[in-house]
Amino acid sequence: MIETQGAGMRRRVSFRTRVLTPYAMLAPGIVLFVAFMAAPIVYTVILSLQKRTVTGLGLGANSHKTVFAGFSNYVASFTDPELLGSVLRVLLYGVILIPTMLGLALLFALLLDSRRTRAGGFSRTAIFLPYAVPAVISSLLWGFLYLPDVSPFYDLADALGINAPELLSPSLVTFAIANIALWGGVGFNMIVMYTSLKAVPSEIYEAAKLDGCSEVQIAWRIKIPIIAPALVMTALFSMIATLQVFAEPTTLRPLSNSLSTSWSPLMLVYRDAFTRNDIYSAAATSVVIALGTFIISFLFLRVVQKRAFGQED
């Protein structure tokens, strides 16, 4: 392991080299982190412990005061049915999105890696391309494709005599949003998995082939176990992104009656902070969401580590 080697290498060096040099080199990263991530986070926590009070009609200067609120904002967040509702919606959204996205990404990556596939270069670029489209723009595009009167899908369905369901109706809108995220994300995850597959020495496959394994068997028994760590990481990052879904539903919301201003937890934060001008509640909800994300990520890693990597220890 590198760490032990490093310790051996630097047995005789001074404190200066051993401690000051690495920290000096880390300084840009640490300073930027403190200024633009840590400080805002601390600031958010401070805001979350405050609230504003009004005297009289609240009009004019000096009619407002910011006071310490204790944990009342947190109590409000935890007991807010809207927050609970948005979390449940997003969980459903994640259950739809993550397996589909990672499953397709894995399928595509395996097919790209298979020597029997043609048109790989073209497909890889095409599938990856949507990653370059900002979510705000991709949601607008899909919005057009979802609305019956402007969508080619409905033209097609009409031509075929099918009575296509409304994609932005309350029952389907979660799928509609998941589809946008799928479109934008499948290529990125595919590339991650494909990169992992490429890192595997081909002799292993040769050996398996000589033993008469089929492509599917090789994929299932060799490739997938090998890239399991990549799968875990893509799943983790997808989960974090899912909990933070914001741009897609926000862009789609005005197009139908199906999405509320608190559809996802971050939309709720945005509404509280900006529309309702209650930055203190928004800060408390933000902290709750960040902590929730942390706990879910942590639990996920604990569970999958045991199952996916247990055999190696």
Binding site: R52, T53, V54, T55, G56, L57, G58, L59, G60, A61, N62, S63, H64, G143, F144, L147, P148, D149, V150, S169, P170, P254, L255, S256, N257, S258, L259, S260, T261, S262, R271, F274, T275, R276, N277, D278, I279
Partner: protein
């Protein structure tokens, strides 16, 4: 709209100045000395307002105004409130919709102009408009710019073809809606939009609602009262019956409906020609305007949708210069004319408006008396008081009426009104306001 976009503008100097002021907002000097060159920033979203401001900049070398175009009223207010909380970053001047004034005043975002020359503009405006910038008190928070009296826009060709007369009451409107939908089930006279709280507010205002009230040191919330209930019940009935569409306005689908003649009427405001020509330019000449259908034909009334004023922010270091500019912009005949012709708005200044609005907008060239109708309607705008949490009520409208419109149940529309009342009241109480 599109035509004016094509007209080339000379704004290179303005752009350069913009870059500089953009980096130095908030640092400036005292405003007393009129010979000192002053740079003002102005957040506004009315289209082409920068061209109107160019006229000012040419004739007033000592007070240079730079327009920062915003994405409409809501985002601009959001940014201003953030800048106010942060203590810096706000512009000097701000285009503010009337309904946002109490919110901004409550956040201490606007300077009180009652001790400045701005009070001298009072004679230019009607009492109703003036009261919305004073919030009924002694202070003055903005100078009125434009108003949006609501009117009924309809496809005259379709009405003629079906032999329908223009509705003068809401009952007639309902009858026309039925006739039109019956003649072709894919066609609607209008839609109930859960996305446009300002539209519904205007309709309620017409019916006599005033959603907030001031009683001594306390606010009252009066959303769930007879007038608004009446409006919600009416629209809920039409949507339940299926003769009025339930899709939001301002979507690609709505644009398509306007273009293809699937939506043949629009309850909108005086600024509608700009939207119609931008969204459905090919239907020019087919539309006409009439006063709103009435609840009581003998006592005509309407509401406002849109309309805005020019405020000076509490962070401005140049209040007097800003007032000077805002006064010019909203009351000088040349400026008002430019507001009409290049920015396409309906000025609040009665006399100047009359002079400037001689010719109907191009989109309505088939109706030369367009602005006569507008002027008549504008006199019938009902009074309405906005409260300090309009945004809360509006986002509650979005959520609650979206559910109602989706369900297509009349009772759900009434529930939505009740829910709006609850949300709005609860928010006021939570913020510490006294609520009656």
């Amino acid at each position: 709209m599109r035509r004016s976009l094509r007209t080339a503008a000379v704004a290179t100097a303005a752009a350069a100045a913009l870059l500089m002021t953009g980096c130095s907002a908030g640092t400036s000097h005292d405003s007393g000395d009129t010979n000192q060159k002053v740079n003002l920033t102005y957040w506004a979203w009315a289209p082409n307002l920068d061209k109107v401001v160019d006229i000012w900049n040419k004739s007033h070398p000592n007070i240079h105004v730079t327009v920062n175009k915003q994405d409409g009223g809501d985002p601009a207010v959001t940014k201003l409130l953030t800048a106010i909380k942060a203590g810096s970053g706000a512009p000097d001047l701000m285009q503010v919709e009337y309904q946002k004034l109490p919110t901004l005043v409550a956040a201490d975002a606007l300077a009180d102009l009652s001790k400045t020359d701005a009070v001298k503009t009072k004679s230019h405006f009607s009492d109703g408009v003036w009261s919305s910038v004073t919030l009924g008190g002694d202070a003055l928070y903005a100078i009125p710019q434009d108003t949006g009296p609501m009117m009924f826009f309809y496809r005259a060709d379709v009405f003629d073809k079906l032999g329908l007369s223009v509705p003068s009451t809401w009952d007639e409107y309902a009858a026309d809606a039925r006739a039109i939908h019956e003649a072709d089930p894919s066609v609607y006279l209008g839609t109930f939009s859960s996305n446009d709280a300002g539209w519904f507010t205007g309709l309620s205002q017409q019916a006599g609602a005033s959603w907030w009230g001031i009683d001594g040191d306390a606010w009252s919330v009066d959303i769930d009262k007879a007038p608004t209930q009446k409006v919600a019940k009416y629209w809920g009935g039409l949507v339940q019956e299926g003769v009025i569409n339930n899709k939001p306005m301002y979507t690609p689908e709505w644009n398509t409906a306007l273009n293809t003649g699937k939506e043949v009427g629009w309850l909108s405001a005086v600024w509608a020609p700009g939207v119609l020509s931008g969204n459905a330019g090919d239907t020019a000449g087919k539309w006409k305007v009439a006063p709103m259908p009435q609840w009581d034909a003998s006592n005509p009334a309407t509401g406002n949708w849109g309309g805005s004023s020019t405020g000076v922010t509490s962070q401005s270091k140049h209040v007097d210069a800003a007032v000077k500019f805002a006064t010019w912009l909203n009351t000088d005949p040349e400026a008002v004319k430019a507001l009409v012709t290049t920015a396409g708005i309906y000025p609040a200044d009665n006399a100047a408006a009359k002079q400037a609005l001689s010719k109907a907008p191009d989109f309505f060239s088939n109706q030369p008396d367009f602005y006569d109708v507008a002027a008549k309607v504008a006199k019938t705008v009902n009074p309405f008081t906005y409260g300090p949490n309009v945004n809360v009520a509006y986002s509650a409208y979005n959520d609650d009426f979206a559910k109602a419109a989706q369900s297509k149940q009349q009772s759900a529309f009434l529930d939505a009104v009740t829910q709006m009342q609850k949300t709005t009241t609860a928010d006021l109480k939570k913020s510490g306001f006294t609520v009656k």
